[in-house]
Symmetry: C2
């Protein structure tokens, strides 16, 4: 029986992008449903009561598995499709990958997305008026301080959690790629971060993200460029 | 060789409480270090660069494993100590437990803690002045809407993610117990939620939480009462 896999997501949502990157790394095919989740579509609420994306649905005949929310989805993919692992066997590396995931999902989301994506993307999508310069400034300070930390980390490591690509890199790349889309990633001052991002950006899993285009919100000039 | 286990945490932090409840359910002993993380202690930053709690350290001779951030910590405990599981084997139940975890860690944290804990706890601890009534009102609306959802869920289930206690219940109880500490849990209107909370509150894992006392911020009258 054929497995039908569908991902409900929004292209510029950093949490959805983690799901797309992980599915891509694991070479799993899927159909897509783009959700404008802020409009609270009923079909999405029926799948996920929080109304948030991403949601993965896998159906085989009458059996249907619905996996809601990014962390649950990524842990599920890791358990169900352990080929091309995104968590190492070693507990230190696993803990480090998940630490970095949470760093981005909580700290980066709060200190960067909460300002830059709110001011430059969400306000536009929701018709909430012009961005506030104070908010943008706080977000830019946030990005720089996060890039400083990553720069140090990558001076000693090939990938964020150690010698192998992991869910830490997936989370980081997903969040940073949206910041890059809106032209707010300060590449020039952070060589190690730029090298790491070029490396992950050139992987096949990244291709679908690079062709995302949001009507009314065009990407930065170098967004899809592998040699930026 | 003896394993030395230490948990760095803050008693009224909902994320730290998840770690304590999971360690308690799994009957794992540990030493405690209480961290006033907002003072940014260097010893904590040396363990976890984000400066957040909880952090678990397990040392055996020269081997030391440091697990930072609640989600990483809970997944680690599940992998390392699968006796007394907090995630079922069934993928639907696992996904449901993790969905509810993220519901609390993201949605409840944003819609409830971000208002009620900020106004009534963080401002007190940080000496930021009197609570803002508008903020408290938004937080109270948030709690009620979350309790409504849980009330429905618990009409059909013994535990939040299904027939067994899971990380979903641990996350929910950790967050709600802090709201109860500050006297903001509207028990009277939500019978199912109250029954569920009485059940989890009477488990041995909960005992250490019920004796928490924050200087200058006494708990609500019924906080430690098993029959409230």
């Amino acid at each position: 029986m054929i497995l039908e896999r569908t991902l409900h997501h929004f292209p510029l949502d950093p949490f959805s992008r983690q799901a797309r990157l992980a599915l891509g790394e694991k070479k799993l095919d899927y159909a897509e449903v783009i959700e404008r989740y802020w409009d609270r579509p009923e079909s999405l609420a029926a799948l996920n009561p929080s109304g948030l994306v991403p949601v993965l649905v896998e159906a085989k005949g009458n059996d249907r598995l619905v996996v809601c929310e990014s962390r649950a989805l990524l842990e599920y993919l890791e358990e169900a499709y352990p080929q091309t692992p995104l968590l190492a066997r070693d507990q230190t590396e696993r803990a480090e990958a998940r630490r970095i995931q949470q760093w981005f999902d909580r700290k980066f989301d709060f200190e960067v997305n909460g300002f830059l994506l709110y001011e430059k993307m969400e306000k536009r999508l929701l018709g909430m008026g012009a961005p506030d310069l104070g908010g943008i400034r706080r977000g830019r300070d946030g990005v720089r301080s996060h890039f400083h930390y990553l720069e140090q980390l990558l001076a000693e490591r090939d990938w964020l959690a150690g010698p192998r690509i992991s869910l830490g890199d997936i989370a980081a790349a997903a969040h940073i790629s949206v910041i890059d889309y809106i032209g707010e990633a300060p590449w020039e001052q952070f060589k190690n971060v730029k090298t790491w991002y070029m490396k992950i950006k050139s992987r096949p899993c990244f291709r679908p993200l690079l062709s995302d285009r949001m009507p009314g919100l065009p990407p930065s000039a170098h967004y899809h460029d592998l040699d930026f």
